[in-house]
């Protein structure tokens, strides 16, 4: 019988004398209760509950049919009709679900990757797929709402230069006046049956997309946090977890399984040897030495980051002044605009390697701290580079250029393309050549491991750039989509040919949460604040783009609300906008309320932690009680048997045996 039995065999409860009949009766009672509970639920809840029953399929089917018959016997009227309707709805929903599953791309590929390399490497590809969804969505809405109206009612393009090959890399020239960049759009109201205001469309499309992204990120982040960050009280990374919870069942490739077995053996040996050797308490001087090494390492890393940022900033200023003075048809000058992106990509490539060299000299208490610190340093580097670029774009460029938004869009475009090219080269040199070296020339190096953290951070960096660039170049997602598709296939091929799965896989779920959190803050928040600053405070260029002539792009909304105010019947929209959304008091109140609720929830969490501690102690006590009582039971039974064997000889003796011993057992044993 596959059902979890209520009375485990093999304990001394077995000789309580319960017969098979009694057990069967108990079973039948439980089933009837279960069926009546199920019949009271709604359809969807019932299906979920039935699916989660730990019984064999046949029993579940029986319970399902019993529950359905109980339910229909209650609703005597309209049985057939409503049942048919709900059944056809469910069938429709299931067919939609299976159609959607057919649309899920790469199902076979992902299964293969998961089968050979395990779930942590698979999480990188799933992350890539998720980013791809964002970009495809943005592409579709930008194309539909902004680009198509613009193409249909094309503005007069002033000077068209011929298409040369260099445009693909630099984005200037032929692409300058196309819809690829901000400058290719104009803000007139297209006169059609409902007049289509291009300014409002541009503003609202981009705003809606960013808001949706933000909401989706927050939702994923909180769900992932809830699933993966549990209260870690007690030893979690010990042998029990590694033995029973960490084996990856989805790996099906023989070599990979052998690898995993070796890794597990090594890790168990390591943890054993750590326990066995006495944890020597470090002397004061040793501790000071390690602390000063840590401080030195941090200073070096931050110094490198600051140095790179300064270098990029001055190079940018230099480029700006030189680009203002060159002839638009000068190819070399145009190619020199590629210098800045190349420098940025080189820094992104080399400095993390330096960071890993620096971290060799430090000593960490556990390997997880090492990974987190390395991720922190890399994030600081990448975000400070992006920060300095944004500062340069928003401060120095607008005063000096005529159509500065297009220039910013082109810079972002160049950065993305060069980053992509470097990624291709990085995979080739980093993984392919290293594999060749590792197997033929220097076998001690071994096959390279697939470095998940570094690859995910590269993806996050590219996505930040894409989010920054959306306002300045609405069709930038095209490039990002193509780039992500090519990277997916390239990484997959490189993985199969060159790499082995990472050795220390533990805590992959927590790393997932960390990556999603990094995607939200600082990546998305930074991009959003930059776009918000541009829209709110910067003066758009006078002669190009949809917001030409306005004080700030936000003034479109202001003039639109003035227009609405004069329309009959929509006064309340204007009233909400003017007195609620533009009123600071509203935001203070909302913040205050949220803070109060957060404090309240935090107190609840603290109380629950305390409760868990108490309950755990109670479990231990109950275990001791149970052991004690079982002991008592065995002793009294032994006494009883001894007394029974003496009875034939001494039947005058009164028994000192309590026949009500069964009432002293706790009821729920």
């Amino acid at each position: 019988m596959r059902r979890m039995s209520v009375f485990p065999s093999g304990t001394s409860l077995g000789n309580l004398g319960l017969t098979a009949n009694v057990l069967q009766q108990e079973d039948e009672n439980n089933t009837s209760e279960l069926v009546s509970e199920l019949a009271n639920l709604s359809d969807r809840a019932r299906i979920q509950a039935i699916r989660s029953l730990p019984m064999s399929y046949d029993e579940r089917r029986r319970i399902r049919s019993r529950a359905i018959s109980v339910k229909t016997s209650k609703n005597i009227f309209n049985i057939d009709c409503s049942q048919q309707v709900s059944r056809s709805f469910r069938r429709f929903g299931a067919s939609v679900a299976s159609a959607r599953q057919w649309l899920v791309v790469w199902h076979g590929t992902l299964k293969e990757i998961g089968g050979r390399f395990g779930t942590s490497v698979l999480s990188y590809f799933l992350f890539l797929k998720w980013l791809l969804k964002f970009n495809v969505f943005s592409l579709i809405i930008n194309f539909c709402f902004i680009t198509i109206p613009q193409i249909v009612h094309a503005p007069n393009i002033s000077n068209v230069t011929g298409f040369r090959g260099l445009e693909l890399l630099t984005g200037v020239g032929y692409f300058n006046q196309t819809v690829l960049f901000y400058g290719g759009y104009n803000g007139e109201v297209i006169v059609s049956k409902p007049p289509y205001n291009m300014q409002l469309a541009y503003f609202f499309t981009i705003a809606a997309y960013l808001v949706l992204c933000g909401v989706s990120l927050i939702y994923s982040m909180s769900r992932s946090f809830q699933k993966n960050f549990v209260l870690e009280s007690g030893p979690v990374s010990g042998g029990a977890w590694r033995l029973l919870c960490s084996w990856d069942f989805s790996v099906v490739n023989e070599k990979a399984i052998q690898n995993n077995k070796n890794n597990l053996g090594t890790q168990l040996k390591e943890s054993l040897s750590e326990r066995l050797q006495m944890k020597h308490t470090m002397s004061m001087s040793e501790r000071m030495k390690y602390l000063s090494l840590h401080v030195l390492a941090w200073l070096l890393s931050l110094g490198l980051a600051v140095g790179s940022c300064a270098g990029i900033y001055f190079l940018g200023i230099d480029q700006l002044t030189s680009s203002l003075n060159h002839n638009p048809n000068d190819l070399t000058a145009e190619a020199s605009t590629l210098l800045l992106p190349v420098v940025v990509s080189l820094i992104n490539l080399i400095v993390p390697l330096l960071y890993s060299l620096i971290s060799i000299m430090e000593r960490y208490s556990n390997p997880r701290a090492k990974i987190y610190i390395s991720i922190t340093r890399n994030v600081v580097l990448k975000m400070s580079i992006l920060g300095i670029l944004c500062y340069y774009w928003l401060n120095s460029v607008p005063e000096n250029m005529v159509c500065w938004e297009s220039f910013v869009g082109q810079s972002v475009y160049r950065l993305l393309i060069i980053d992509f090219i470097f990624c291709l080269f990085g995979t080739f040199f980093g993984e392919f050549l290293r594999n060749v070296i590792g197997t033929t020339c220097a076998p001690s190096l071994g096959v390279p491991e697939f470095d998940i953290a570094r690859n995910v951070l590269d993806l996050i960096y590219a996505q930040t750039l894409a989010w920054i660039g959306i306002y300045f170049s609405p069709l930038l997602p095209v490039m990002q989509v193509i780039k992500l598709l090519i990277i997916f296939y390239m990484k997959k091929v490189s993985l199969s040919m060159n790499c082995q799965p990472p050795k220390h896989t533990g805590r992959a779920a927590q790393m997932q949460t960390v990556f999603i959190a990094l995607l939200f803050f600082p990546s998305f928040v930074g991009a959003l604040s930059m776009v918000a600053y541009t829209v709110w405070s910067l003066k758009p260029s006078k002669y190009c783009g949809p917001f030409q002539g306005l004080q700030t792009p936000f003034h479109t909304i202001l003039s639109w609300t003035v227009y609405i105010q004069n329309l009959p019947g929509t006064y309340w929209v204007w009233w909400i906008f003017e007195n609620v959304l533009r009123n600071e008091l509203f935001y203070y109140l909302v913040t205050l309320i949220i803070l109060v609720i957060t404090y309240f929830l935090w107190q609840i969490t603290q109380g629950r932690k305390e409760l868990i501690r108490t309950l755990r102690q109670q479990i231990v006590n109950e275990g001791k009680d149970k052991a004690f009582l079982l002991n008592q039971l065995q002793n009294t039974q032994k006494q009883r048997r001894q007394m029974a064997s003496f009875r034939y000889q001494e039947f005058d003796q009164t028994l000192h045996f309590n026949p009500n011993w069964i009432n002293t057992l706790p009821l729920d044993m």
Binding site: V230, F249, V252, K261, K626
Partner: protein, 187 residues
């Protein structure tokens, strides 16, 4: 999709859809896989619920299970007779629990069954030793094996009876969020 297939009746497919985590299309695909395992044994027509069981030896040769160290225990835990002979319903049930949509509690119950080699509803030290031997082969010496299993029981045993009951196991699972993604076989 639609009314072209004659393997199952509509009611059967509805029941499969309501009682497992698979859609109709996946059930039909699973039937194809099940049929492949023993084409002479498994009929193509399941409308009258034939009582056919595929033996253990054929099932553990599936590519998804072939290299898994626990393949025998997995198949035995889902079989009615405990010997590993699976009917189609057991087969579907097995992959349904091992799919990514099954909730944590359900997976914990079956994981406990799989690791409980002597089927006494407790994971005792011998069970842990067998698990460890399947997972590491000749890497660890017998003393190390002994030590690891003792430490594991010490860590996870809450009520102090020197073996892991289902409650202890579930408590440990709840603190391991990776479990949901690692206890998963794609088909």
């Amino acid at each position: 999709m639609g009314n072209k297939q004659t393997i199952f009746t509509d009611e059967q497919l509805d029941a499969y859809q309501d009682c497992t985590f698979f859609t109709r299309k996946e059930i039909l695909r699973l039937h194809g896989r099940y049929h492949e395992l023993a084409p002479h044994l498994v009929p193509m027509d399941y409308t009258n619920d034939p009582d056919v069981k595929v033996p253990l030896a054929l099932i553990v040769n599936m590519p998804e299970l072939k290299e898994n160290p626990f393949r025998n225990r997995i198949v035995e835990s889902f079989s009615e007779d405990g010997q590993g002979n699976l009917s189609f319903n057991d087969f579907v049930d097995m992959f349904s629990v091992l799919s990514e949509m099954a909730p944590r509690e359900l997976k914990a119950i079956y994981a406990f069954k799989i690791y409980d080699f002597n089927v006494d509803n407790y994971i005792c030290k011998e069970d842990l030793e067998k698990t460890l031997n399947r997972l590491t082969k000749e890497e660890l010496t017998p003393e190390e094996v002994n030590l690891v299993c003792e430490k594991a029981i010490e860590e996870a045993d809450l009520d102090g009876d020197n073996k892991l009951s289902f409650a202890d196991f579930e408590n440990m699972i709840s603190r391991a969020p990776d479990f949901l993604s690692t206890f998963h076989i794609r088909i």
